[in-house]
């Protein structure tokens, strides 16, 4: 049990929520998403994101379309689905209640 590992586990746990939030605002391609996550210090290596995106796509939370790129191979642009929106709402609610729960622990019982 080390602190570094624990922190990365916590971040990993909310990664789906974060990705949903990003693609809800606007359609993005994978490296857009990873850039934003990195900026927010939520992601260490890009590679973590790709299995996640495929899983979420297979679960029907997000979908993608291909777009040609001037430099390099065609890109997958991801957008949120109806199902993804409802999942996101549930996850956000869960997040809020989690922070509240943790806050509540500050007070003596």
């Amino acid at each position: 049990m080390n602190e570094e590992n624990f922190r990365s586990q916590m971040k990993k746990g909310i990664l789906e929520l974060c990705v949903l939030k990003i693609v809800q605002v606007q359609e993005c391609y994978a490296s857009n998403i990873s850039e934003r996550l990195k900026k927010a210090d939520l992601l260490v290596v890009e590679g973590t994101l790709y299995p996640l995106l495929t899983r979420m796509k297979n679960a029907g939370w997000i979908q993608y379309r291909w777009e040609e790129s001037k430099s390099g191979p065609p890109r997958k642009y991801y957008q949120i689905t109806e199902e993804g929106i409802s999942i996101l709402q549930k996850l956000e609610k869960e997040w809020d209640s989690l922070t509240q729960s943790i806050q509540s622990l500050n007070q003596p019982s």
């Binding site: 590679g47 973590t48 299995p51 995106l53 495929t54 899983r55 430099s71 390099g72």
Partner: protein, 521 residues
């Protein structure tokens, strides 16, 4: 063969002054040699670790595309050659498989120790170290012994003829270790990231040496080119042949199973033997054929029987082989075989059901043919059994406990289902009623079969009634539960004696009916 080599499929390389052309996600790059090694190792390790995951192939191509994209970004301004620094930077940005997937490092550290204790060694064919089918090498890996030992043993067994069919069976049943994970299981090593990567780098070295070797041997002149071409043709022919041979062997095996089953069924019936008397298969087949409902013949009966026993026999064999060697259930050849046998046995069940229903219909109605024989007026009557012992030769079924005694003689079927009872006569006359009974699909047919039953009693003037122990009917006729009932009607105050000889205890008399019966021994 079969093993997915990203190096083979995406990196077709040729040397150009220490830089190599490689194709990443459809894009062509010039790469330094050291960078090439690092990059191909990285891509390989990515692919191997993703192979385990659902949708791994898709994730891998996304990652590969990202690698290509990052190279494109880095190249556009500076030089056109991918350097090892660039590769390092890309790996740092995207992350190693451990960083990507094994983010829970704690788990990853603990897992290997745990998993070493529960390694399940599995039997696979070793496609990379094979002489024929890789069976011997696979068995050697399974038992951790030198493949040569297994090969020598196998050669002896195969040459002596014993092991030939067995080898074929194993070849078909045991799957080839295709993925690195399967190869690790074959060797009994724990399947974890580190081992997978070791396996990958080992394979990478093999591939590299293959690539280098190939490049060195690049045909220089026309003659060498022709030789290379011929070698290719020869290899192609060999490959095709081995496929053809394999399928021939599979069909041979199926045929073998088929024959074996037929023989087993045959043995089951021909094996019935009483004393020195054997069953005659052609006769029993004829009788069976005659007894079947219309539209079925003896062959269809055997065919249905075969279809019914096929699945259980196949099931027992395959389960036992699988259990002995801890084989996985999935094997494309086995799947096809499973489906085929499943369909065949389903057909068997349907036909058996139809046959059963049809057969039941054949027993729907009963009809009798009765005949009266008058007896002389005496005070004492005697029943004497007439034995058919002398007629017996050939096929016979005998069951002492149930008192069943059936046999065939002179193309007639003899059966001892003769019931005898004694009753009070309604008037002062004494007579015997011979009732011949049969079942049939309609009363007409039942009547016809009943009248074909032969059973002749003899009566003499002293009151001796001779009752044959068996009735008979031509064996060209079907079994329809034929039997005979003898009803003896005697006036009151007469006596009846049954003489029982030790050869034949039939027919017996229902003693409930009359009190005045005596036995004479």
């Amino acid at each position: 063969m079969g093993f997915i080599n990203p190096i083979d499929s995406i990196l077709k390389s040729t040397v150009m002054k220490k830089t190599i052309h490689i194709n990443v996600s459809g894009q062509l790059f010039h790469v330094d040699e050291d960078a090439f090694e690092k990059l191909s190792g990285y891509l390989k390790s990515l692919e191997l670790s993703l192979q385990q995951q659902e949708g791994g192939q898709e994730i891998y191509s996304d990652l590969e595309a990202r690698v290509a994209e990052l190279f494109q970004e880095k190249l556009s301004s500076k030089s056109q050659i991918v350097s090892i620094e660039m590769v390092d930077a890309v790996i740092e940005q995207i992350g190693t498989p451990e960083e990507m997937l094994g983010a829970s490092t704690e788990e990853a550290q603990q897992a290997p120790q745990e998993s070493t204790q529960v390694i399940s060694r599995r039997l696979f064919r070793d496609g990379e170290d094979k002489m024929i089918g890789g069976v011997a090498a696979g068995i050697a890996a399974y038992f951790q012994i030198d493949p040569t030992v297994v090969r020598v043993l196998a050669a002896i067994l195969i040459l002596s003829g014993v092991g030939f069919g067995f080898y074929l069976l194993l070849w078909i049943v045991i799957p080839e270790a295709k993925t690195p994970a399967e190869r690790l299981k074959m060797k009994g090593e724990p399947v974890n990231l580190k081992n997978l990567q070791d396996q990958a780098s080992q394979e990478l070295n093999e591939i590299k040496s293959r690539v280098h070797g190939w490049m060195k041997k690049e045909p220089q002149n026309a003659f060498e080119r022709i030789v290379a071409f011929l070698v290719q043709i020869f290899q192609f022919i060999l490959k095709t042949l081995s496929k053809v041979v394999r399928w021939i062997l599979i069909s041979f095996l199926i045929f073998f199973l088929f024959t074996l089953t037929i023989v087993l069924i045959g043995l089951f019936f021909t094996g019935i033997q009483v004393g020195s008397v054997h069953l005659i298969p052609s006769e029993i087949a004829g009788i069976l054929g005659n007894s079947l409902p219309e539209g079925f013949d003896a062959f269809s009966f055997w065919a249905i029987g075969f279809l019914l026993v096929l699945a259980p026999i196949y099931w027992v064999i395959s389960i036992s082989i699988r259990m002995i060697f801890n084989l996985p259930k999935t094997n494309p050849v086995l799947k096809k075989l499973n489906t085929t046998i499943g369909i065949l046995s389903a057909i068997g069940w349907v036909l058996a059901f139809v046959l059963g229903v049809q057969l039941a219909m054949e027993f729907r109605t009963t009809d009798t043919v009765a005949q009266s024989v008058s007896l002389p007026k005496v005070n004492q009557y005697t029943i004497v059994n007439e034995s058919f012992q002398s007629l017996k030769s050939g096929f016979e079924i005998e069951d002492e406990e149930d008192g069943i005694d059936w046999f065939i003689s002179n193309k007639r079927w003899y059966q001892n289902q003769v019931e005898v009872d004694v009753n009070d006569s309604p008037d002062s006359t004494a007579f015997v009623k011979v009732i011949r009974i049969s079942k049939g699909k309609d009363s007409e047919k039942a009547h016809e079969l009943a009248s074909e039953i032969q059973y002749s009693i003899r009566v003499d003037s002293t009151g001796k009634i001779t009752l044959p122990s068996h009735f008979s009917f031509p064996f060209s006729q079907p079994f329809r539960a034929q039997h005979v009932r003898i009803r003896i009607f005697l006036p009151k105050s007469t006596e009846i004696i049954q003489q029982i000889d030790d050869q034949c205890t039939f027919p017996t008399i229902d003693r409930r009916e009359v009190a005045n019966i005596k036995h004479l021994y």
